[in-house]
C-alpha cells in the first residue's frame, strides 16, 4: 500500500515500462511545447492565486469582525457559517450553472473565482485564532487614534500570520484540485483548469497514458512541493477544526 501511495508521483512512467529504468523525458518536452497542458497549468495557477488572495483578505476581515465586534447580526452570521459548512455543495450544481449563465460569467475566469473568494472554513479558522489573541494591542492602537481599518491591517494582520499561512495552504490546495465546479462552469479550452483537462483528455481519444500521466504529474508536482514545504501548516489546519469539535 505504501508503495502504491508513491504511484501518483512516479506516474510519469508509462504502464508498460513502469519497472524499467528508462525515463522518457521527451514526453515532458512534448506536453510543454506542443500540447495545451501548460496553458491549463497556468489557468489553474491564475485561478488558484486569485482565490487565495481573496480568501486571505475576506476571511481575515470576516473572521476578525465575528471574533471581536459585537455588532447586529453577529450571531446570525456565525451560525450561517456553520450552516454552510453542512450544506452539501454538490447538490447545487444545477442552479449554480443557471446562475452563472444568467450572469454572463459562464466560461470565464469570473465563474471560477467569484463564488469561491471567501469560504466559511477559512472564516472559522481565523475567528478561532483571533479569539486566542489578547485584545490589548488593538486597544492600545485605538487609544493612539488608529481607525478600525488601520487596526485591522496594521495591528491584527501581522499577529495572524500563522493562521493565515494555514489558510493559504488549505485554500490553494483545495482550489488546485477542485474539479466539479470548474468542470460545469466552463467549456472552452482557454479557461480550462488542469484537473478538468485531465478528466476530459481521457474522454476524447483512445487513452494516451504517457501523455496523460505526464499531465497528471504537472498537477501533482506543485502539491508535492507545497506538502514538503508546509507540511506542518497542512496538518495543523486539518486538526484544528477537529479538536475544537
Amino acid at each position: 500500500m505504501f508503495r502504491v501511495s508513491l504511484l501518483p508521483v512516479t506516474s510519469d512512467l508509462s504502464p508498460d515500462d513502469f519497472l524499467s529504468p528508462v525515463f522518457a523525458l521527451s514526453i515532458y518536452y512534448d506536453i510543454i511545447t506542443s500540447g495545451n497542458m501548460l496553458k491549463y497549468f497556468m489557468n489553474s495557477l491564475v485561478v488558484g492565486l486569485a482565490v487565495l488572495v481573496g480568501n486571505l483578505i475576506f476571511c481575515f476581515m470576516a473572521g476578525y469582525a465575528i471574533s471581536r465586534y459585537r455588532f447586529l447580526g453577529r450571531r446570525v452570521w456565525f451560525y450561517t457559517v456553520i450552516l454552510v459548512l453542512m450544506i452539501p455543495a454538490h447538490i447545487i450544481i444545477v442552479p449554480m450553472y443557471l446562475l452563472i449563465v444568467k450572469l454572463g460569467l459562464y466560461d470565464t475566469y469570473g465563474a471560477l473565482i467569484l463564488p469561491f473568494l471567501v469560504n466559511p472554513i477559512g472564516i472559522f479558522l481565523v475567528k478561532q485564532y483571533i479569539d486566542s489573541l489578547p485584545p490589548s494591542m488593538e486597544e492600545a492602537a485605538r487609544i493612539d487614534g488608529a481607525g478600525e481599518i488601520t487596526v485591522l491591517f496594521r495591528v491584527v494582520l501581522p499577529l495572524c500570520r500563522p493562521a493565515l499561512a494555514v489558510l493559504a495552504v488549505q485554500v490553494f490546495l483545495t482550489n488546485w484540485n477542485s474539479f466539479l465546479f470548474p468542470f460545469i462552469l466552463t467549456s472552452s479550452e482557454s479557461v480550462r483548469t488542469l484537473p478538468v483537462a485531465l478528466a476530459l483528455y481521457q474522454g476524447h481519444q483512445a487513452v494516451d497514458w504517457p501523455h496523460l500521466m505526464a499531465g497528471s504529474s504537472l498537477a501533482v508536482i506543485p502539491v508535492l512541493l507545497i506538502f514538503l514545504l508546509f507540511q506542518r501548516h497542512i496538518v495543523s489546519g486539518i486538526t484544528a477544526g477537529a479538536i475544537k469539535q
Binding site: 501518483p8 455588532f71 447538490i91 477537529a242
Partner: protein, 287 residues
C-alpha cells in the same frame, strides 16, 4: 461604538454577499426549480407541483443511483474509520521512519482526485498492476479489467476511495490521541491494566468525539461521490451515484427541474443523517 458596529458589518460584507448570492440563492432556487418542468429547450416552464418527485420515485435510474450511493457510503465509511484508527494507533508509537509513513499515508488525500482516479483506472484495467497482481495470487479478475464489469466496478471505486481518504482521517485520530492526557495511562499502569484493557477503557471512550466527527464529515462527503465515478466509469457498469444522476439529467440532458428535485431528495437524506449524527455527538459529549 457606532464605528465598530459599522466596521463589523462592512468587514463581513464580502462573505455575506457571496453567501447570499452564490450559495443560499442557488439552494432556494433549486427548491423552486424542483417544482417546475424547466428544461433547456422549454423556456415557458410551468409549475408542476410534486410531479417531479412522483416521477423520481418510480425512476429506475434514480433509485439505482441512490442504492449505489448508499452502498458506497455504508461500504466505505466503516472500513475507512477502522483502518484510519488502526493506522493512527500504529503510527503513534515511536519507531524509525514514522514521519515517512505518516506522510506516505496522508499524501493521497491532498492529491487531485482526478489524478488518483486516472492512475487507478490504469491499475484496474486489463494489464494494469492491480489486475496482474490478483491474477498472480491465483484469483481470476474480470476479463476486461475491474472497472468494466457490473460486479466489481463499484467495489473497485470504493476500495480506491478508502485508500485515498484513510490518511486524512488517520491524522484526525492522531490529533485525538495526542489530546488524551498521559496521566490516565500512567495510573492505569499503576493499577496493572493490560494493554487491551487500557485501549478499551481509556483510548476508545476518549476518542469517541473525534470518531463521531470523522463519521459526520465523511458521511456528508461520501453521499456526494461524483468525481471518481465520472473519471473512472462515467456511471456505466452499475456505478451511477446520486450526484452523477443529478449531473447527467441536469447538465447533460438539461432537465433542470427534474435534476433539482433529485438534488433535493439527496439534500434531505444528507440533512437527516447529519442531524442524526449530530444529536449523537451532543449526547456523547455530556460525560
Amino acid at each position: 461604538m457606532k464605528t465598530r458596529h459599522l466596521a463589523g458589518n462592512l468587514f463581513t460584507l464580502p462573505w455575506i454577499l457571496t453567501l447570499l448570492f452564490f450559495w443560499l440563492f442557488p439552494l432556494l432556487y433549486s427548491l423552486y426549480l424542483g417544482f417546475t418542468d424547466y428544461r433547456l429547450l422549454k423556456p415557458d416552464w410551468t409549475w408542476v407541483g410534486l410531479a417531479n418527485y412522483a416521477a423520481l420515485v418510480s425512476d429506475r435510474d434514480f433509485l439505482d443511483s441512490l442504492l449505489n450511493t448508499f452502498i458506497f457510503v455504508f461500504g466505505t465509511i466503516p472500513v475507512t474509520t477502522v483502518v484510519a484508527l488502526i493506522l493512527a494507533l500504529l503510527i503513534e508509537r515511536r519507531f524509525p521512519g514514522r514521519t515517512l509513513f505518516r506522510s506516505g499515508f496522508f499524501m493521497p488525500s491532498i492529491t487531485s482526485m482526478v489524478v488518483i482516479a486516472l492512475v487507478f483506472t490504469n491499475l484496474y484495467s486489463r494489464g494494469g498492476y492491480i489486475y496482474l497482481l490478483t491474477r498472480m495470487i491465483g484469483l481470476s479478475p474480470p476479463e476486461n479489467g475491474f472497472l468494466l464489469s457490473d460486479k466489481t466496478a463499484l467495489l473497485s471505486v470504493m476500495a480506491m476511495d478508502v485508500w485515498m481518504s484513510v490518511g486524512y482521517y488517520m491524522l484526525l485520530f492522531l490529533a485525538g490521541l495526542k489530546a488524551i492526557p498521559d496521566e490516565l495511562y500512567e495510573s492505569a499502569d499503576v493499577a496493572g491494566a493490560s494493554p487491551f484493557r487500557k485501549f478499551r477503557s481509556i483510548t476508545l471512550p476518549l476518542l469517541k468525539p473525534v470518531a463521531l466527527f470523522i463519521i459526520v464529515i465523511n458521511t456528508i462527503k461520501s453521499f456526494q461521490v461524483f468525481i471518481e465515478i465520472f473519471v473512472m466509469t462515467k456511471g456505466r457498469y452499475d456505478t451511477s451515484t446520486a450526484v452523477y444522476f443529478i449531473y447527467e439529467t441536469g447538465l447533460n440532458q438539461f432537465r433542470f427541474g427534474y435534476a433539482s428535485a433529485a438534488a433535493y431528495v439527496l439534500f434531505l437524506i444528507i440533512a437527516a443523517f447529519s442531524i442524526l449524527q449530530f444529536s449523537l455527538l451532543r449526547q456523547r459529549r455530556l460525560y
